[in-house]
Symmetry: C2
Subunit: 464 residues, 2 copies
């Protein structure tokens, strides 16, 4: 029985089991649902044992605070102890379901509608973790082996939708048990049902709040206007100066070390059927694309670092006029970072920029709320990415293209702490309505994901 036959034969059992798991409302953000998150972990642990993992453990988190939600760890060693070790990362917790009255069905009573399975967690992320168990069994059945060709370690988090507050701590605590040669991430999307693709990186992030202080009180603009510095003017100049005329960020050293797009990557991005007009419609009806000179929209979102003003305030913001020189001005800014950039260097460059460009008479203060999120990236010609691409192409029967994520996530911690390359293998779609009412997944895509997962371990065994 080959992989595809095995999957077809076992599909209905697969979906029946997935529905059981989906019925557990494992909302990590809702304190009332703690026990459900725990039940979800236990359900998954049981299922992984049934799948054949010899080691399955529930890992408590938040030992310091004592308030974490459990992750599930499972390990299935390869026969050959020298074979590569690979982690599969995903999460078993789900988003809240409000507003509940916008759901057509009960979010925790998953139902099939044609080829779609509807319910919370179908795409993000239970469905995408689940295809690995079917894929692994299909690979073993087709090869006649009793153990996978690489050591597989499942690490399924229970707090991802709450910002993974204890995940880095867990990774550090369990670093030896998590030792690996690659991390497979199954928590993202493909370009489209007909355009299979793999993500190769996510942008990093660092945030800051800039405050400028002028006079100790708002001043009458008739008596003082034009003769003392106005913090709002200073703020406008500071913020306007963050970009040059080509919309490049002006912070000193900002682009130092940035991993530039290769010609091949740009060509592959250009193969994606991207409709800018349609995209602008999804961008809140934005009226025009815009950004760093010399790059396309997809390149700007995925592979270029940015500086964005997220908020700005100061002076009189209520109705009517108030002719004042305001006492202070504030702005929240954030930077998306790409491979080769370090949040810390950007924070230092911003702090220096503000200090150098604050006019006499104004006191500046830059508050950096946290260390930021590091970017993560795997080159398209790296062994893990190429192996996964071959597995995906075998499953989908067509060329697999590359995308990236413009957003930021805890995935960078996996790469940094475990010191292993990331490989994104996922079959979710942007239209899956994750985090929204009526979340769904395309069932044929989950089966394709299982098929790709079945091929993946041989490909990785031969590459890493």
């Amino acid at each position: 029985m080959d992989v595809r036959e095995y999957i077809e034969t076992n599909a209905s059992g697969f979906f029946a089991a997935l529905k059981q798991w989906l019925a557990i409302p494992s909302i990590s953000g809702d304190p009332e649902r703690c026990e459900d998150v725990r039940r979800s972990a236990e359900w998954l642990a049981r299922h992984l044992r049934e799948t054949g993992f010899p080691t399955v453990e529930i890992w408590e988190t938040g030992s310091e605070s004592g308030r974490g939600l459990p992750a599930v760890f499972a390990e299935w060693p390869a026969e050959d102890p020298a074979a590569p070790k690979v982690i599969v990362y995903g999460h078993h917790d789900v988003q809240p379901v409000e507003p509940l009255d916008e759901w057509d069905t009960d979010p925790f009573a998953p139902v099939e509608r044609g080829e779609q399975l509807i319910g919370r967690g179908t795409s993000d992320d239970k469905g995408q973790i689940f295809f690995h168990t079917l894929g692994l069994r299909a690979g073993l059945a087709a090869s006649g082996r009793t153990a996978p060709p690489v050591t597989i370690k499942m690490l399924i988090e229970g707090e991802e939708e709450s910002g993974s507050p204890h995940f880095a701590e867990l990774l550090r605590a369990k670093k030896d048990r998590l030792a690996c040669d690659a991390v497979v991430i199954s928590d993202t999307t493909m370009w489209g049902a007909d355009v299979p693709s793999m993500c190769t990186g996510m942008r990093g992030l660092t945030e800051a709040e800039i405050s400028l202080h002028g006079p100790s009180v708002d001043l009458h603009s008739g008596s003082f206007g034009g003769a003392v510095p106005n913090p709002l003017h200073a703020m406008a100049r500071l913020l306007a100066g963050l970009h040059d005329e080509n919309n490049r960020v002006t912070l000193k050293g900002f682009y130092n070390g940035v991993v530039e797009l290769t010609d091949e990557e740009r060509e592959l991005f250009a193969k994606l059927p991207f409709d800018e007009k349609e995209w602008l419609a999804t961008a809140g009806g934005s009226r025009a694309a815009y950004g760093e000179e010399g790059f396309t929209t997809l390149e700007r979102i995925w592979a270029r670092p940015t500086a964005e003003i997220n908020g700005m305030w100061g002076g009189h913001t209520g109705p009517g006029g108030k002719t004042i020189v305001p006492r202070e001005a504030h702005a929240k800014v954030s930077f998306r970072l790409v491979a080769g950039q370090d949040p810390r260097s950007v924070q230092e460059a911003l702090t220096a920029y503000v200090a150098e460009n604050t006019p006499p008479g104004i006191a500046a203060d830059v508050h950096i709320p946290g260390p930021g999120v590091r970017p993560c990236f795997s080159p398209i010609d790296s062994p893990g990415v190429l192996a996964a691409k071959r597995a995906m192409e075998k499953a989908f029967g067509k060329e697999v293209l590359f995308t990236r994520e413009g957003g930021s996530g805890p995935e960078a911690d996996l790469a940094d702490i475990l010191e292993a390359p990331l490989v994104f293998v996922a079959v979710g779609l942007d239209e899956d309505r994750i985090h929204a009412p009526n979340e769904k997944v395309d069932m044929p895509l989950l089966l394709k994901g299982a098929e790709a997962a079945a091929y993946l371990w041989d490909e990785l065994a031969n590459s890493l």
Copy 2:
């Protein structure tokens, strides 16, 4: 009996009468005090009759809305029907008294403390109107005449502290009765008790609110940041671009027609004992002076036009971070204008500037809430100013210097509607705490004001 003797002889009666008037709480901003404002007008009308004005009338205002507070008009014709006609402008309403617990005495039970008279309206503006009646009687007594050498028209408003909502309407309605060759304004201040000075102009004002609209909703800065225009960036650039590197306003034609300071005026300004460090302390502890290149602080405040950002807001302004491309940005701006500038032209230049400098993909909207306030100005070598200067110098026995007001007021309406030059004759001080608790006036200065007023009419009769 000369002027000075007459004033000394009648001083105690003068202050006794003034205290009666001050005891009437004519707060125009408090609807409960309407009747008190009316009583104040009636008290003043009676007093002007007693002073000798043959014509005294109470003028109702707000005929259209029926909700105005009364002004007092009085006229005392010169013997010679060809003599110049001069209006004295002031107001008999006062500011509210809150916070009441910060007053050391009852604001409407005026008391003497040494040489100071303490109470609401002592300086702003009842005391300063009142010195005219004593001055006029002193002048007549000293000359032995029964009528003044110019036709004097008193016009004492009852809504100045409420923004003079019906004043322009009144001026237009009564234009014929108010026909005049000059308007004497007694509602400002001198540089100091030892540094008598005259104001020669006030800045104009025009305000605007700029709104920039981008996407219809806030966008995720990971998914869209760097690829669609951010309204806050656009706003920062717009606002930063309002000034050039010399802090001059960049609006097209902004300085066209501006009446430049003469060398003489600059020299006279420079004679004022101005302590910049002390001034910065009063400017809310501002840490440095700042402004248009090539001008001193006093020149910047008094004689140069400005652009000021009064408020600015958009995006996430609450606690914590929110990595968005915000849907819109707003700013309130205002411009102080000097002689030769027209609020309307500045409004048009701003609207054009915003339209020309809004990037593609952003929609801009400039809201101008009203026509603005025109600047007013009398050259230091104009006949009315020179005449009043001579009168002041005779009273004070020393050189009278010149100042201007950085703020804006309804005085420009007097000049524009009545088509007459303004002459500022006042003896208030900046430290009189007008609009604040414990308002006071220096009684010797009120008597000096009366003396200057006594000399003023002859000087004007010979000059206009």
